[in-house]
Subunit: 168 residues, 2 copies
DNA sequence: GTATGAAATTTCATGCTTGAATAATTATTC
DNA sequence: GAATAATTATTCAAGCATGAAATTTCATAC
């Protein structure tokens, strides 16, 4: 508990001016994030002929070398079940991902990167780091840390409680 | 030039630790933004049976009472031309939007909210403000202002130059 | 062992989003 | 004023994303 800038209670401001400021912040946040995201998408498309969803799936599978079940994957990425099915289908078709049945459970499927998939992602991740650094490197370590801290506060705001929260 | 926390040059950090920190910030930013966005989407769906893209389009049209051309709309929302066509089609079908030809230019179409559309959006906007405030109200005005400032720095970072930049 | 419910995945309908191609109109240049 | 270029909007194919329904398999209770 050492955040002098952030209220510990979930008190809701009601002053019109503060509400407008919150709205302004949200629009700014959305704009900036989408701007960065669009840049990354474009670079992935131009330089690697791939998409952000594919990149995200591969990143998760890269991390879990032993593979993930479809349901684990969708909950790790916080997307719907049916969504992952389609993305994996295309990755399998491209030889980047392998599906293996789970011993002892005929329902489940284990999904993992192929050797080709791992190598591809490795190259993409390296480039990705550079892109991100080119964008966020303009901030001082201090500003970066503070931003992370504020974002954390927002994320745990009472306005965002949904029931299930889990970090990988 | 009064941002002691933000570098004025576009120097790119190359230290591995700083790169990792930038990456961490980006992932956090993405996660928080998507979390908020998902909350808004769900509320729009449950309480107003509508979607965020529709809300965004209506917000733009609400602001420009006299109406907007399709191209103005898509550039205001920073989405593709073809995208807006589909959303407007559905809004017209629902009686929330009206299309009127532009005098003197047979190519262009002026799009504006109907009376029903204005009233609908008015109610949604009021609720939207409350939702946003419930989420971001946990920040002090100072933290909010600083966050906006840092986001601004990111947005104008050299890593994000795309060619055309324009604010409404 | 059979019924019942839970879990894992896929399928489906709908809508969003993009970039590219097309079509129609307007503006410019020779 | 005819050829050329630019603007405006739609159409199209592909992929992403959701929530709901359907399917298969597993676990539990009886």
């Amino acid at each position: 508990m050492s955040d002098p800038d952030q209220r510990s209670s979930a008190a809701t401001n009601t002053s019109p001016a503060l509400i407008k400021q919150s709205l302004r912040l949200w629009l700014k946040m959305l704009k900036t994030t989408k701007h960065v995201e669009a840049t990354i998408r474009e670079k992935l498309r131009i330089e690697f002929d791939t998409t952000l969803p594919r990149f995200d799936v591969m990143a998760a599978l890269y991390r879990f070398e032993e593979g993930l079940k479809m349901s684990e994957l969708s909950s790790a990425l916080r997307v719907s079940n049916g969504n992952v099915t389609g993305i994996i289908e295309r990755l399998v078709a491209d030889g980047a991902v392998l599906r293996v049945p789970v011993a002892g459970d005929k329902r489940a499927m284990l999904v993992r990167l192929t050797h080709k998939g791992r190598e591809e992602f490795s190259r993409m991740a390296a480039a990705h780091e550079l892109w991100i650094n080119a964008i966020f490197g303009c901030l001082t370590p201090d500003a970066t840390a503070r931003l992370i801290s504020i974002l954390d506060t927002i994320e745990h705001s009472q306005g965002l409680v949904t029931g299930e929260e889990n970090d990988a």
